[in-house]
C-alpha cells in the first residue's frame, strides 16, 4: 500500500503539487536565457490539470524542471512542493525515490521513449525492482502481466518478451503507461501523450488515461499543445505563453469566458467540424524565440487588443474567483463569442 492511500487526503487547500515562481534558464555565452519565467501551478489530489500552449512555450521544460529532470545546462529556481516536500534543490537520491514510484511520467513519442534493446517486460520490471528491493523475479513478472492487462495489451505473456519495435504506436504508449503506473503513483505527468499517435488511437489512449485516473485515484498533469484534448479531459487548465502562465481556470470557465486574448486565439484555432469555411484559423505571427521576449506583455506583437501600455508594462495577474488572467484588459475584453473571434482576429491580424 502506498503512503498516499494510507493518509487521508487533506483539505482541498493543500494541493498534491504546488509550484511557485518556477524559473528555468540556460546559461549561454551571453548570460542566462530564461525559458520558464515564473510559473505558478497547483494540482489537487485526483485532479486533472491541463497545461496548454504552443510548441516551445516551456510546458515540458517546466514539468521536467519541477521534477529535477531538466538538462544539465539548466538553472532552476522557485519552489515545488510535492505532498508538502520541497523538490527544488533536493538531492538526486531523494528525487529518485519519488520518481517512478509516487510520480510517473509518459512522453510524446513512445517509440523513442522506450529502450530499443530491452524487452518490454524488462523495462517494466525495472521500475518495480528500483522501488522494491524485496521483490522476487516471479512476483515482478506476475505484476507486469497484471499491468499489461490493466492497459489492455492482449497476449501479455507473449508480449512481455518482445521489444518495443514489435509493438504498434498505441501499444507502445500503453507500455509506457503501464510503466508509469507500475508503482501506484499519486501523480501522473503525461507530456503530449497522444501527439505522435494516429487519430483513432489518440481517443483510446485518452480514454484509458481517464479510466486509470478514476480507478487508481491519481492526479494527472496533461501537457498538450491542443486545447481540444484539454477540453474533454481536464478539470483545470493553465495556458502557457513564452514561459509564463497567462490564464488559469476551471475548464468550463476557460471555454465559456476566456479572459486572455491568447486563450481566445487558441480556442478559435480549434478545428470545428461544422465550420462554415474549410479554412483553419491560427493566431497570426509566431511565439518569441528563447530569450527574445518582447517588452511589456510578451504576447503584444500578436495581440489584436494590444494598447500602448502593453508594449511597456508587464500585465499583472487579475483574479476572478478561481479564474486568473495576466492581461491589462482581462476585465474589459469584449464579450466572448467564438465565431466572431476568428473573424475579428482574421481582420486585424
Amino acid at each position: 500500500m502506498t503512503a498516499a492511500a494510507m493518509t487521508i487526503a487533506p483539505a482541498a487547500a493543500e494541493p498534491l503539487l504546488r509550484v511557485r515562481d518556477l524559473k528555468v534558464g540556460f546559461s549561454t555565452g551571453s548570460g542566462t536565457l530564461l525559458a520558464v519565467r515564473g510559473i505558478d501551478l497547483d494540482v489537487s489530489r485526483g485532479g486533472v490539470l491541463g497545461i496548454v500552449g504552443e510548441s516551445g512555450s516551456g510546458k515540458s521544460l517546466s514539468m521536467l524542471a519541477a521534477l529535477g529532470l531538466q538538462a544539465r545546462n539548466a538553472v532552476v529556481s522557485g519552489s515545488v512542493h510535492f505532498d508538502s516536500q520541497q523538490l527544488v534543490g533536493r538531492q538526486r537520491k531523494h528525487m529518485r525515490s519519488l520518481l517512478g514510484s509516487r510520480i510517473g511520467m509518459i512522453f510524446q513519442d513512445p517509440l523513442s521513449s522506450l529502450n530499443p534493446v530491452m524487452t518490454v517486460g524488462d523495462q517494466i520490471r525495472e521500475v518495480l525492482f528500483l522501488h522494491d528491493r524485496r521483490l522476487t523475479g516471479k512476483g515482478a513478472t506476475a505484476r507486469v502481466l497484471d499491468l499489461l492487462e490493466l492497459v489492455a495489451i492482449p497476449q501479455a505473456d507473449r508480449r512481455i518478451n518482445q521489444y518495443p519495435h514489435e509493438f504498434s504506436g498505441g501499444m507502445r504508449q500503453r507500455v509506457m503507461i503501464a510503466m508509469a503506473i507500475a508503482n501506484d503513483p499519486e501523480l501522473l505527468v503525461a507530456d503530449e501523450p497522444t501527439t505522435a499517435l494516429d487519430v483513432t488511437v489518440q481517443a483510446q489512449i485518452m480514454r484509458m488515461l481517464r479510466e486509470l485516473k478514476e480507478k487508481l485515484g491519481l492526479a494527472l498533469i496533461l501537457i498538450t499543445h491542443d486545447l481540444g484534448v484539454v477540453a474533454g479531459h481536464a478539470d483545470r487548465v493553465a495556458v502557457v505563453y513564452a514561459g509564463q502562465v497567462v490564464e488559469e481556470a476551471e475548464v468550463h470557465d476557460l471555454f465559456a469566458d476566456p479572459r486572455h486574448p491568447y486563450t481566445r486565439g487558441l480556442i478559435a484555432s480549434i478545428p470545428k467540424l461544422t465550420a462554415t469555411g474549410s479554412k483553419l484559423y491560427s493566431i497570426p505571427g509566431a511565439p518569441p524565440r528563447l530569450g527574445a521576449y518582447p517588452e511589456g506583455c510578451a504576447f503584444h506583437p500578436r495581440c489584436i487588443h494590444a494598447q500602448d501600455i502593453c508594449r511597456t508594462t508587464a500585465p499583472p495577474t487579475m483574479a476572478f474567483g478561481g479564474h486568473r488572467s495576466a492581461c491589462h484588459f482581462a476585465d474589459r475584453l469584449p464579450p466572448w463569442d467564438r465565431g466572431n473571434e476568428a473573424e475579428r482576429q482574421g481582420q486585424n491580424g
Binding site: L64, L67, L69, R92, K93, R96, S97, L98, L99, G100, S101, G104, M105, F107, D109, S112, S113, L114, N115, P116, V117, M118, T119, E126, V127, L130, H131, Y163, H165, E166, M176, M179
Partner: protein
C-alpha cells in the same frame, strides 16, 4: 540472421582463396630474386648449384604450375617450407601466432576497458576537465609512435627503476615450460611453475600497455561520440523518470545501445593487430607473427610471406564472423531481419 551467418561461413574458403591468389601474384611482381635468400652470394656463380636450388624449391616451374601445387598443398595444411628457417611455414606460424595472440588479447583487454571507461567519462562529463583529460590521453595513445613510447617505457620501468623486465617473453635464466597452448602465461601455469608464471606476466605488462594504449585511443573516441548521441535520446529521460540512478542509466540503458559500433571497432582492431602489432613486437623482442612477417619480407621468403598473409586474412574473416554473431546478441532488431 542465422542464414546470413551460415552464408558468410560458407563464403570464407572462397574469400581465402582470393587472398591466396592475390598474395601469390604480388610475390611475382616484386623485382627481388628469392634465390638470394637460398643460395649464398658466392654460390650464385655456380650454375649447377643454382639449378639444383631452383629445382629443390620449385622455382624452375612456371607460375601457374607453382600456383596449382601451392593451393593443392594448402588444402592439406601444408604452406610450404620457409627459405630462411628451412622449416614448414605452418610450423613457424603455429609457433609464433600464440605469442602474438597473447600480446594482442592482453592489449585488447587493457585497451578496451580503459577505452570504454574513458569514452563514457568523457561523454558524461562532456566539455569538462575530465573530458579534456580523457581526450588528451587517448589522443596521446593513438598519435605517439609506438617505438618511441615502447622505448621510453622500457627505459623508465626496466632500465632505470628495474620494476619490470626488459624485452622478451620470459627471463633467459628460466626454463621455458613445455608449449601446450603457446601462451606463455597459460603454459607456465599448466607447468605448475609460479615463478615462471609471474615472470611471463611481468614481461607481458609493458608491451600490452603500449599496444593497449593505442587501442584505448580509438575505442574511447568511438564510445564518446556514440554516447553523446545516445544520452540525448528520450529513453534516457524515461530511465531517469523511473528513478534509475546515473550508473544504471549509463551502463544499463546507454551502453547497451552503443554495443554494435563498439563491437565493430573492437573486432576490427583485434584483427588488425594480429599483423599490426609488428612495431610493438620489434621493440619488445616479442617472437610473434608480426616480426616473422618482417623477417620474411626482408629476405623475400615467399612461402612465409604468403603464409602470413593467409593467416592475417583468416584472422580478419574469423573476427568479422564473430563480430556478426555478437551483433545478434547486442541488437534485437538484427535478430529478426
Amino acid at each position: 540472421m542465422l542464414n546470413y551467418i551460415m552464408r558468410r561461413a560458407v563464403a570464407m574458403p572462397f574469400i581465402l582463396l582470393g587472398i591466396v591468389t592475390l598474395a601469390f601474384l604480388l610475390t611475382t611482381i616484386t623485382k627481388g630474386d628469392p634465390l638470394t635468400a637460398i643460395v649464398s652470394e658466392r654460390q650464385m656463380n655456380n650454375p649447377e648449384i643454382v639449378a639444383a636450388a631452383k629445382a629443390r624449391w620449385g622455382l624452375d616451374r612456371s607460375l601457374p604450375e607453382r600456383y596449382v601445387i601451392y593451393v593443392a598443398n594448402l588444402v592439406t595444411g601444408d604452406m610450404g617450407t620457409s627459405f630462411v628457417t628451412r622449416r614448414p611455414v605452418s610450423r613457424d606460424i603455429a609457433a609464433r601466432l600464440p605469442a602474438t595472440l597473447e600480446l594482442v588479447i592482453a592489449a585488447m583487454a587493457i585497451g578496451s576497458t580503459t577505452g570504454i571507461l574513458l569514452g563514457l567519462l568523457a561523454a558524461y562529463y562532456r566539455d569538462s576537465v575530465i573530458d579534456q583529460t580523457a581526450r588528451l590521453f587517448s589522443l596521446f595513445g593513438s598519435s605517439v609512435p609506438i617505438f618511441w613510447l615502447g622505448l621510453a617505457l622500457l627505459f623508465v620501468f626496466s632500465v632505470h627503476y628495474h620494476l619490470l623486465p626488459g624485452p622478451g617473453r620470459l627471463d633467459a635464466r628460466l626454463t621455458p615450460p613445455p608449449s601446450l597452448t603457446g601462451f606463455m602465461v597459460v603454459d607456465t601455469l599448466l607447468a605448475g611453475n609460479p615463478a615462471a608464471f609471474k615472470d611471463a606476466l611481468l614481461h607481458l605488462i609493458l608491451p600490452s600497455l603500449v599496444l593497449g594504449w593505442t587501442v584505448a585511443g580509438s575505442i574511447s573516441r568511438i564510445v564518446r561520440a556514440n554516447m553523446l548521441e545516445i544520452m540525448e535520446r528520450e529513453f534516457i529521460l524515461t530511465a531517469r523518470a523511473k528513478g534509475a540512478g546515473e550508473l544504471r542509466v549509463v551502463f544499463r540503458h546507454a551502453l547497451r545501445n552503443i554495443l554494435v559500433p563498439v563491437l565493430t571497432v573492437l573486432g576490427y582492431t583485434f584483427a588488425y593487430l594480429i599483423t599490426g602489432a609488428v612495431l610493438t613486437e620489434a621493440v619488445f623482442g616479442w617472437p610473434g607473427i608480426g616480426s616473422y612477417a618482417v623477417i620474411a619480407a626482408r629476405s623475400l621468403d615467399f612461402p612465409a610471406i604468403i603464409g602470413v598473409t593467409i593467416v592475417g586474412g583468416m584472422m580478419f574473416l574469423i573476427t568479422n564472423l564473430l563480430t556478426d554473431i555478437a551483433y545478434v546478441f547486442a541488437n534485437p532488431r538484427v535478430r529478426l531481419n
